[in-house]
Subunit: 480 residues, 2 copies
């Protein structure tokens, strides 16, 4: 069993071991009945004392993750049935490097009637007509696109369109500074695998995007979460944290942040960039939502002020026009980009040319008009959701209405009972994202994320009302 | 600058440092003029003595990779111009975890007239007609496929088709044991990121697939190359090597091996599987070519004999029917597969449903007939190439005609001059794959790989003749 330990880290070793194992257990990577290595064995593997491992196991047992019995060893606790598994499968002892897999755990299902858990846009709002027309014409007219491996960096024509797109948003780069990835998830993953390794310090907002946390955890990074206020990441706090642990990378989602909805002020953006300059580190600016504002356009991207290549800017087109095409743009300069392209080549030899071609004319000619319509539709939904919240949200539940994006971030009176709430909701065909997956997982969170754009408007209204009534009932039952 | 050092490894530390840096320099990740860290600085970062780093730098200077000058430091040697770069860019000092990028270096270009370097099938042989018809019908009839994120594991219907496909080949699994990836490259990458970490021992055939070597190198694995004979990997040698260093994973391409064309005998397959059982390790069986035999079907896949889940089997459909669709199948059981699915989710949230749907009916109904025709066409090409080789290959150049697959593996009289040959060939619009990228890169190789299926038949004949005449001239010039 492999666990990245940071011997110079601030967390005690037993806690590092117990946190990592707890994450693997709660995400389901370690199944109930799985037999953990012996104290002696794990101590030898990790080169720590047996006392350290014993402490970690005791902590996990106290938290209910493990059942240990003298002579038999420690097993992952069953949730329902009891009794340890046989543990005889060789695969159980085959080590891996996956400390956490909350994406896999939380987004693997989508068969619920009211899927509030996924931050996505329902097909009735997406421009599938024009994109499918382009795609049909392409496969008929240029079937050879299906025969060729893509350019590692992405179709040059699409990159040129994206260059113009970014230029309109204040980001002035060359076509050669852009790379196409299979969604932003791949972009984050490529940055992590290229530039982040065991013990490197990565700063993120608290809360942050689950998929980014999974990826950095997978690289063995030390993730430090920076608190936020209404102006976004607390850059003053970050600055002090960086004194103690210089950053290798700062991951931010500054505009209509996922999940909190908060937007970073211009002043903070500038200070964050200065900080990256002084520490000679990278900022990953993940920007899926900046075109989805409800009233006024958000501040310009951090990348628009970046003069010496400190920002890797990521813009998802998947999210906004066709998630199934898996197209995002990554912008970076010099040998930061060339190294990311090298990583992309090893990762999948390049994204399919066909899906790149399918979105190209739409982004070139119709995107801006479409974004205008989409903003209006999303705002209408958000306002409908807001009315329902006002009417049906139980006392003690709070939220801030977002100025853009797709999500509501609800604070419940307490973190306890959220797992039970999730089961109850699922029985009614409703899903939501528990807030704790937006943190490193040390503490239970009393937040939950609901996306108001992933269903038809009517379903969203029905589902949200149903959920709020259920929530009310659930909270009352807790208080009894 | 990050270098994975294996303190318990068999290679001395200075050599580990110098090999890694040499790979980064030859692949172009470190550009001419780049200033290396000071001896003192690198020694501190890597926690080794300054003598160790000095030795490594001296070795690199001797090999012509570096130019060191008292007081100024060491710079990556220019190939043409001279004089060190200014090195003032902060990015040059920003560490990464990319030790090697031969895929990126060797497959980034494809604008040559006679691309012999890429192992692929020319579009005139591929079934693009039926696949594009399906695709066009899908985008028109089910545009919502472009709206949805894929299932992490892949479209269940396509997995069912693949299950039947594998069953016909002696591999009996459930649909739930299969995962769809964006090409086999991604499959290899997912296995590596999940199960291979710094210092883990990975065995590969010598030579092996460039893309696999890149990926394992990127994970900091200790790669050990096992010699081959006409029956494939020398499992007897491997067994002795495993005694000294137990395997974490064995990567093999047993059928019409890329690049050598050799097929592993049934006896060796069985022994390899027994070895994996006794060491409780995984075999990655990469099988792009087994349907592409010229005379008799090759031995059954290792996976067909695998009773307790030691083999992760990978079958590329990209390669054989539509490279641009990027569809491969990964077969594994139990928590080996579930961990790979978790890695897939963090890597790209799942492959596009549309491209999966596009190949589905073809694989279900027409694949076997198509494979028959394709085999005949490839055999004809190979035989044409064989005639040209016989007629025009210069003395001292040898080869073994493959029994299947897409490649010729030519042995030249000497390794020297291959880089020059490559330049000369490129001037004539001809590309080939230098054999040294199929090894870890310690030694120059005197092999080159030529793919005979990546052009029209006429172009292949013209290009190969042209190349062999050029080769003759080049070898004569070396002997003068």
């Amino acid at each position: 069993m492999h666990i990245d330990l940071l011997r110079s880290g601030s967390k005690p070793l037993p806690q590092q071991i117990s946190d990592t194992l707890a994450q693997r257990i709660t995400s389901g990577l370690l199944q109930p009945g799985f037999r953990l290595p012996s104290v002696r064995g794990l101590a030898a593997t990790l080169k720590v004392s047996q006392v350290t491992v014993s402490k970690a196991y005791a902590d996990l047992e106290k938290k209910g993750h493990l059942i240990c019995s003298q002579g038999k060893g420690c097993f992952v606790a069953e949730h329902e049935q009891s009794g340890p598994g046989n543990g005889a499968d060789w695969r159980d002892g085959y080590d891996d490097y996956l400390p956490r897999a909350q994406l896999w755990r939380n987004f693997g299902y989508s068969e619920v009637k009211y899927p509030f858990h996924l931050a996505a846009i329902h097909e009735e709002l997406l421009p599938l007509g024009p994109i499918s027309t382009t795609m049909a014409a392409l496969v008929t007219g240029q079937p050879e696109l299906m025969a060729s491996y893509g350019n590692f960096q992405g179709d040059p024509e699409l990159r040129e369109i994206m260059r113009r797109h970014l230029q309109l948003r204040g980001i002035h780069l060359a076509t050669s500074d852009l790379m196409i990835t299979s969604g932003t998830q791949q972009g984050i993953d490529l940055v992590a695998r290229t530039f982040v390794g065991p013990g490197d310090t990565v700063y993120l907002e608290a809360p942050s995007y689950t998929g980014a946390i999974d990826v950095f955890a997978g690289r063995g990074a030390e993730m430090i979460f920076v608190p936020m206020d209404h102006e976004g990441m607390r850059v003053d706090v970050l600055t002090r944290q960086c004194d103690a642990r210089p950053p290798k990378l700062i991951y931010t989602n500054p505009t209509f942040q996922n999940p909190s909805g908060v937007t970073m002020s211009m002043a903070r953006r500038q200070r964050l960039l200065e900080l990256a300059r002084s520490y000679r580190c990278l900022i990953v600016e993940d920007d899926p939502f900046s075109d989805l504002y409800f009233r006024t356009p958000p501040p310009s991207p951090i990348k628009s002020m970046d003069e010496d290549g400190h920002v890797v800017y990521m813009k998802s087109f998947s999210k906004v026009i066709a998630p199934g095409c898996r197209i995002a743009c990554v912008a970076a300069e010099g040998n930061i980009l060339s190294r990311l392209i090298a990583a992309k080549s090893a990762s999948d030899l390049g994204s399919p040319l066909l899906t790149q071609g399918a979105v190209l004319p739409f982004i070139a000619r119709r995107y801006e008009d479409y974004a205008r319509t989409l903003r209006a539709a999303l705002r209408r939904r958000m306002e409908k959701a807001a009315r329902l919240l006002k009417q049906y949200a139980p006392p003690g539940v709070t939220w801030v209405l977002p100025e853009g994006g797709l999500n509501l971030w609800l604070q419940l009176p307490s973190a306890s009972g959220i797992e039970r709430l999730r089961e109850l909701a699922e029985e009614e065909g409703i899903s939501f994202l528990p807030g704790d997956v937006c943190y490193a997982g040390d503490l239970p969170s009393r937040f939950i994320r609901l996306c108001y754009s992933q269903m038809t408007e009517a379903d969203m209204e029905r589902g949200l009302k149903l959920f709020l009534i259920l929530l009310d009932k659930h909270l009352r039952s807790l208080n009894q």
